[in-house]
Symmetry: D2
């Protein structure tokens, strides 16, 4: 039995980039973190240390900045596609596939008395828009998403009727806090012909609105409803994956102090956490 | 020469608390992290291990939850004061001083087509409102603030005319990105008679507006102007301390690729960072 | 086209556990973080909110603690297998598959003048032993590994002869620092009949020794050699995957200060970083 | 009442540095993170934006690298002192004080079959050696310490006889796990004439050994004993400050599952945590 390379890839991770679009006095601010990952004929460097086919990860980083110079970066999907096509198309046939992941940090314009500032911005928190574009000579796939979107509802969430065994101590509840950090990603049907930003807006609103309005019987049921609504409201996607950690808020037992606690005071915990995941698709 | 205790304190850190105010169908959501720190006659436990005067940190934690049950927590300063007064007033004269620090995580109501949700919330990011209340039998001091407020301006920031020595390589710039994470804390003159939330709003707006509008010749100058405006616009405080890390966005050198870079493409870095701090006060 | 569930799973993540084995005066200390993930007939809870088949994640957590009570946890693989078999074997046929991931925090005995302490321990850093056991009614697979093993060599690492294009600015180097955080995972051939701890020791030493001794022409070449040696020296595994971030130490340019820098002073950076990954297997 | 600057300082934080000492085939590896903080006549830049007296933080960073080039960095205290003296002595009389903080990341030589490697290293975890040197024209003070030293003892720790009130639910225990992350800092009496590394070794061992051996009646008592022993065994220091978070390991209640738990299975938590601090001094 001989040892051999089954799979390999390499690239640059966490290339951070700020771009300011100054086409007029109202500036646009874009902040991204980019990963590039190449696959191809890279056996030589592994086996003999011959690097002739290795495009250095430092060059991949430079490429991100150079292409950002002229690309409008009006949406992260088109920028990721341009980068991926560059690696596959311009850097030699030994590169069979390029994957480009982008995460976008959100900034909002400052706003005083309803008037938006032209050049001053404020971070809007941990939410990030994401995309992962994979390009080969034959194919292009675009999977976009969002992560770090923290949401919480104070009612309309129950959990009853579950399986019990000898290790079950959880009490049924008809009204609990439901808090989670939404991570979603969806696959576009026709990458070339999609208005990504419009699709993203529709999907994001469907996820948020469903989370807010749904009378939840389980995290799973709400997750499914969120994914279903996203697919129903956005024709451009064929599939959506959702991961919803259950960020527990435990009701604090105040009885030792002679007090009731009618869903008023909770202990939020970071770990452990429930984790519910599903992928919904169209037939 | 004899060894002795010069100072000691103890308490519970990072007590996390969620409170839902359900007085009507429109719920209020409050999320806090509380530290309690006691000082007093605690030499015995150090020197002999006699714990008779030690109120366990576990009890301090319980106290936070029990008092939160009935306190409206309409502002973090009054909740911190109530907790601090409890420890100093109710737990024995051996406790000479209680310090209560609170950090508040911000949540905003979800909003669809301009209609706010009653029971669904969204995290607004890393900014936290803070307070640190110190209570003794004689005195009460309240120092409030904010932290993690990320802001960035794309112009109106210069840095020229600085001292140069043999190790200076920095180039002067008339137009750079100015990004920072504002940490501020201010001291109230008359803790008992202050409308904390109003004061906070005025100060926060003064800080943000000054950051946005100031034609900055140095981080220091902007910091000073921010503090000055906060003191001018809020009579209730006697002093303000500001810490502004300079979260560098370095202009990327694109000349090796035959490109100019007229303030378009930048590299954000996390470390190292400049750190500018000052305290402004009234005479 | 109808929307349907393509895949779903759920479980409890980051269940933290300390176990002290007190069979004699020399205690053993074990600290683990456990994830459980179930797959099976869980469509109902998604689609109708009927939770009858849902074993709560809270129960899964309880199960970890209850089984830890009597299990020796002499190795993480056997504990993970016991947990996974419990969920698949004892909790109903609707659970088709259980995955149990464990990460072990390392603790070393304190040691004074060469004498080990019986009951006092010291953390040995960020390295964690890992395992991921997947159990169905038909099959058991065990994939173990390690993560967070930070290593650095000050010489015997070169990078020359790579592909250059218009965006390449990197200079060739015959002698650079090579620093990385090793993440590895390997697949056992015969899960039931493996001495996991012995195998782990052999593989870990093979990885470390190869990293230390190899005259590296590229990160890829060293990675390949590390994986090859692990497969050669441990018959019990059929496959190994390695991920080696290139934790750059950039030579600082001291010429502006009239100084040379013969590989003495470096700037370590956290981002961006090169990322090299490969899987090696036997035919 | 006029607004004025009460205090100000500025500098560069988190300057990361790797130095390899290559005086022979056995290399030394040093990794540091340095903060520089200047105080002096910096009112102008705050008030008028005149930067003539501002030594840029970028220059401060360059200074760290340039001075590291020739300094042996055999101990962090002497390197910090050299840096601080440079700023106060060479950069103009408007700089009244320089503070230099250094944290040192530990690396150990790899070791195979008892033979140490000359050029390959392994991280030893989260512990860092620290120093904070403050230099004015008149004075030099050196406060060194350590942080992130995680320790745990499985027995010889009790907590009984504490104050109880209406919010106390904690049960007394004669035998609990005592886990903490030691942060200590100590003040040297005669900075110029101290062998820092020897002192550090003596103090560190005193802290660890006392933690391991002490029959603890409270965290406070062990803390006091640790500080006392450090002062007794190291004449070079006049004062020591210790901060010991109580990193709780809660006994898991297994009664619902019909099991006892004789101090075997624990739940480690990150928050909240007890925090015990004290400063011991000599008269």
């Amino acid at each position: 039995m001989e040892i051999h390379l089954k799979h390999n890839n390499y690239g640059k991770s966490s290339v951070r980039l700020t771009k300011v679009v100054r086409s007029n006095s109202r500036h646009e601010l874009i902040e991204l973190t980019v990963d590039t990952l190449l696959e191809g004929e890279f056996e030589d460097t592994h086996i003999t240390g011959d690097n002739a086919k290795v495009l250095p990860t430092d060059t991949q980083k430079n490429t991100v900045y150079a292409i950002a110079r002229n690309h409008p970066i009006d949406c992260i999907e088109s920028f990721a596609e341009t980068l991926a096509r560059h690696f596959v198309g311009e850097c030699g046939s030994h590169i069979r596939q390029a994957r480009v992941n982008i995460r976008q940090q959100e900034w909002a314009r400052m706003n005083f008395n309803g008037r938006e500032e032209d050049t001053a911005f404020q971070s809007t928190g941990g939410e990030q828009a994401t995309t992962s574009v994979v390009c080969t000579r034959e194919e292009l796939s675009v999977r976009s998403g969002l992560t770090g979107l923290l949401v919480l509802k104070t009612t309309n969430s129950a959990f009853v009727g579950y399986q019990c065994d000898k290790f079950t101590t959880l009490k049924e509840t008809g009204d609990r806090i439901f808090a989670t950090s939404i991570t979603a990603d969806w696959l576009y049907r026709s990458p070339g012909r999609t208005k990504y930003d419009e699709a993203r807006k529709v999907i994001r609103t469907a996820l948020l609105r469903t989370f807010a309005k749904h009378k939840s019987l389980s995290v799973q049921q709400t997750l499914y409803e969120m994914g279903k609504k996203a697919l129903e409201e956005c024709d451009a996607i064929s599939e959506i994956h959702l991961a919803l950690p259950n960020s527990h808020r435990h009701l604090v037992d105040l009885q030792p102090f002679g007090m009731d606690n009618p869903n008023l005071v909770f202990l939020p915990t970071s770990e452990p956490y429930g984790l519910i995941e599903a992928t919904l698709t169209r037939d």
